[in-house]
């Protein structure tokens, strides 16, 4: 079940730069709901909301409509092309990169003004801002240079953005280091480095970073600390963290080492019930199904009342799909 319309100002902020001008409250509400659905992987329901915002000139909404249409049929459809084009006209660099990837200029005659390479257009629009100190722009250059197949420049800007304090860049850099990026004498030092970046992002309230940090800390057997960050991530709307919390409360034995606090089946059920209601999560449902008998009917009723509190939490749950992901 999807919870009713939920207005939220945070979502836009988390996803990237807000539009240059303020939207009318109703339009803003539509955009927020559209982004909530998009972020909760309920993409197919998002267009009606995002279209309202996009038609009002919101660039984020245009870009995400492009993403939705592209992902729907796994390719650059005409609808996707059209939304990306509109977003690109408003200077949105990621839309320009998508236009490049889909061959918009070469195959569809949708070209940047005075040129034929959308990557260059994105670079031209972004580089001056980055050089002027805009950390968001710096982080964007990571993707732009990556698309230009200039790996060195790409990581240069990722690091620059991270050092300049951009939480998304810090998170991405930490995660990459954790995976395999960079040269470190041993695994312990790699983890140290990754942790440091993740922590810097987490401390700025970046939910995916908090989640990733908690995973890293768990891996390093620092479960108490990990648990705190997991709660932080959950509070920031991170769906995976929220489920992990609920799972731990409901059935710590099944979830394993990461669980720190004692079992609280009612709380666990309440959390998972709320997640399932809000995002239709299969995992939440599966965990509940398997643990069904751990609760009495009475406890479940109690939990479902408690779930209302979790449902009312802000910001809403999100999978935090990257702005320029798959």
């Amino acid at each position: 079940m999807i919870i009713a319309f939920k207005a939220l100002a945070f979502a836009a902020l988390l996803l990237g730069p807000a539009s240059a001008w303020a939207l009318e409250p109703e339009t803003q509400a539509a955009k927020d709901e559209g982004l909530r659905l998009y972020n909760a992987h309920l993409r197919s329901q998002a267009p009606p909301y995002l279209e309202v915002a996009a038609e009002a000139g919101d660039v984020d909404a245009m870009y995400y409509l492009g993403e939705i249409h592209r992902l729907r049929h796994m390719g650059m459809t005409r609808e996707a092309l059209e939304w990306y084009r509109r977003a690109a006209e408003h200077g949105e660099p990621y839309a320009m990169l998508r236009l490049h990837q889909g061959g918009a200029c070469r195959l569809g005659d949708v070209c940047p003004k005075g040129g034929d390479d959308w990557r260059q257009a994105a670079l031209e629009a972004t580089l001056p801002q980055a050089e002027a100190g805009d950390t968001e722009a710096m982080y964007t250059l990571f993707s732009i240079y990556s698309t230009l197949e200039e790996r060195e420049q790409s990581y240069h800007w990722l690091e620059t953005a991270a050092e300049a304090g951009n939480p998304e860049a810090q998170y991405r850099l930490g995660a990459r280091i954790h995976n395999d990026y960079g040269d470190y004498p041993d695994e312990a030092q790699r983890q140290e480095a990754a942790e440091a970046w993740l922590r810097r992002a987490a401390e700025q309230g970046h939910a995916p970073a908090m989640n990733r940090l908690s995973a890293l800390l768990s891996q390093r057997e620092r479960h108490e600390e990990a648990w705190e960050w997991r709660i932080g991530a959950s509070e920031g709307g991170h769906q995976g963290s929220r489920i992990n919390l609920g799972w731990c409360y409901l059935n710590p034995e099944e979830r394993g080492d990461i669980c720190v606090e004692g079992q609280d089946v009612v709380k666990g059920w309440a959390i998972l019930h709320a997640v399932s209601e809000e995002t239709d999560s299969r995992t939440a449902k599966n965990v509940m199904d398997r643990s069904h008998d751990l609760l009495t009917d009475e406890q479940r009723e109690q939990a479902e009342v408690l779930a209302e509190e979790w449902l009312a939490k802000e910001p809403p749950l999100s999978q935090f799909p990257p702005r320029f992901g798959y």
């Binding site: 993409r43 390719g75 092309l81 990837q101 061959g103 569809g108 954790h178």
Partner: protein
Amino acid sequence: MTQDNTTEWPPFTPSTTAGGAIAGESRHVCQASEWVDILYLVGTGRFWLLTKDAAELLHEAAHELHQWASIEDPDQRNATLSEQAGIMECFLPASPGSFLSDEERDRYFELERELARARVWYNGLDATIETSPLPAGREADERQRQLRYQRQEQATEIRRLEDELNALRNAGRRAARDAGYVIDGDAYYGPWESEIQQVLETYRRTRREAMRRHELLPGVDHDADDDHDADDDREQRFTLQEVLTEYQTFLERCETQTPNAASAQCHLAEMIRMAELRSGTLYAAYLESILQLAALGIATPEYALANPSASGTALRDGVSNFDDYNDLLREQADLLAAVETKLEEWQTGTAGHTALPLFLFADERERYQELSEQLDALHESARRAVETMRPRRVLFWQADLADERNAFGYEKRRLDMLVRNDWPLREFTSAGGERELCHISLHLLMDYMSMAERNHIAPLLDADGVLPATLWEAPETALSHWLDIKGCEPIDWRGDWHDDDLGLFQPEAFYADLDEAGHEVASLASDDARTRWGETLQRLLFTGPARDTLRLFDASAQAQALRLIGLTQGNLSSAITLDFPEPLRLPDAGTPEGEWETHQGSLETSSDSGPLRREWELKGDYHLVRGELTLNVLDLPEEDEALHARLPLKDGGELDLGRYALRLETVAKGFAGASLAMSGTLRLSFDGEPNITADEPVQRLGIGGQLNAFVGMRSGIEHRCELRWEPPEDIAMRAPMHQAMDAFTRRNQLDELREWRSLGMIAWHREQGVAWGGEADFHLGLRDGKFVLRAKAALFCGRGVGGGMTMELDNRHLDLWLTMLHRDLVASGFERVDWLDEEAFEELSTLGYVLMMTLLNAGLVMAKGRAWLRQLREEFTETDRAGQIAYVLTSRDGQEERQLRAWVQQLTPEALGALLWLLSSPPRAGDEEDEARDLQQMAIANCVGWVHEGVLDGVYGPVDPVSGPNPGGLLFEKAVLRLDRYGRRTHTVRGLGYCRNRYLLDRFMQIESDTDNPDAIDARNLYLAAANSLGRHADTHCEYLPDGQGGMRVIYEEPR
């Protein structure tokens, strides 16, 4: 055919008496310049001034023949016409086999069938050899070798059969020649065939050219209405539509008025006079091909849409359907060319294909959808126009946008027919005649002749033969000679009696010449008589475009035969409806001819007692001047009476293939029309295509064999046949694209989902006996890159009906066929499906894979043809895209997820194997590998989980733990065995392949990430539970032992 239906028509025996009394009296009486009557001998370009004697004899003979032709009982009429007039002799074409002894005859027909089967086999082998991919490995090599050997064997067999058949054929022909027959079937029954073939080719060529260079055609000027009649020094260029519309208006007027009067009321003459029509331009050739096809009984889309009745239902305001049609085709052609170039660029480009440029095809796709809908609407409107059109034409609708030629093209029907060509019928019009057109049999007239005259005339009959179909000035000698003997005087027809524009006959000019020459004709004494006969002549005599292009009158012997019968029902100009005395019948199968032998499971229909209906009411419309008979549209069967076609399974169950119905529209020309009209009983037959035939075997004394009366008529008949289909309920419910709605809504809207749809047109494709595609009752294969369905007639009409048909499938419904394939794979435990050949299976399998990925519609994916389909499939198995694909497969929601789930559940083992292979490939280096692997694991869990859910939900049939692996389990097993980019088996030993690949898959699924993602953890659990359940039968034979080097040794134990 049984002896019981055999009619005995008394053979014609020429009279041996010395001639009638009238003949004796009137010999050599010459009345110089005073003539009793005047006649025009049709097809000869010659008038005759008649003496009293000749006139009386002719009218007497014509009266008598008319009486006989008017006998209501067909059997009696035909017997009389045979015995007295010798007319029926010429309706008894025969195969050389007919003249052989009983035993030889049986062998002859048996050989024909064997040969047809052998050829089908040979062609099938040939196609397999030519189209199979280049051999890779020993196994494939061996297979090719075997196929080639079989082909060679088959060729030897064909030669042997041909030799034996030829020997018998020659013997039959010798016997036939002795009985007075000649080999010349075409002259009677098929003179239009090569013409149609030729004109169609011209039409296609000029249409293509006209689409490409449309600026050469006169444009549509929508503002021109105001000054339409304004004087203009420049010659007006009329558009194609204007000319075609005007032409049809003219034709309709001609139904009730004389051509001259009709012409006076319209602009046709003015249009035809356009200079460019006479100078061989593209426009002229295009227009002429359309008009010629119309004259041959075929309405092209342009012709049908130009019909005044079609424009009333215009799709868009102010723009007629006709313009729409042309615009649509032109747009499509431009679009295709542009997309083609771009696609090539894209394919040869080096850029990483991270986002398929679907928009390239989106234009096309959207427009395809739009165009299809508009074309469907236009088709409907053309169909309606054709139905009201007088004279009615058969609609030739070829709107296949990707490729304007269907898989078959127009094939000329081969005739190997023996006929008698001492054709005795002559047609004339005379001012003093009883009717506008009179017919005589020279045999009958000979009864009135003296022996000397008769001896003179008889050999001339043979020399005349059948007057050629299109000649207007045939060198007729038999009747002409007799008229000469009788003192009559010929007047040769002259072109200057016609107007210059259309070439219409101007009676005044003719009469003036007649008067000037001093001929006094008693029957033309009154003005009234002159007017009356003048009107008749106007309907028969043409020159210039009216004759050659518009063919306002058909003077051929065949048309004369039709008019002999048709004129017993009314006048030349009246609308004559023919009520057939007997309904159209569907005969019992029992006739070996056209019956297919069944080797791969026979087809059943739901009624135990065979078809629900075996008879249809049949009506015809004569169009006498054109020598045509059109039949009412036949629904075979009516949709609400259609039967469910069922394919029996080896285990005793059966598969519902849905309900099928044919729509048949027919125009019969010349002899075929006359044969239809004369035949007492008509039957519906299926022999490559549905056909209406008369089947009246006639026993002829002195010839020895049985002859098939009317057997040749099928060649003079043009059909338009559409196959309609109502998908079975379970298919409509299960089809993935219908999963966008929930089960409840689907159930409620089942009628809509199952609505009857056109599967396509039955191709004009004729093959004897067995058609292409092996010997199954129901078969889907690929031919020229298109899906072609071949089915036994029993499928449509019920058990016990012989014959069958072949047709190209409309790509738009391929998704439903995919669901049908899935269902039947389930029924066969994912072994081979009998009704599908390997190539078609592979294509459908690929299509399923691509549709699962893209959720696009089948027609749209197929619109670009097979190359594009393959390209898409390649893209979707690139390991670089595994992460993206996994992301989409795990994040679709709502109806998209429901459709995806249904597609995954309905994948073939080949496609599912390829998908699992892709998703279990190592994530792309450089990306966040942990996240990617999480997604890939989640996607695998989704797919395996969905198959497992499918088992529980009954997608793969009822769950029965006792009877071995559920088909869903088999799908999983076989997919795991095919863990390969192209879904090929990775091991020859099935069990070992499963064990090994299952191990690889499990190993991939066991890799834990550093992300703490609960969805991935849950997915791993889900996968293991589902895979263990699906694979539990196969798993019992797998054993895994550590190999001591950190790996695992996979052991497969052969089941005992």
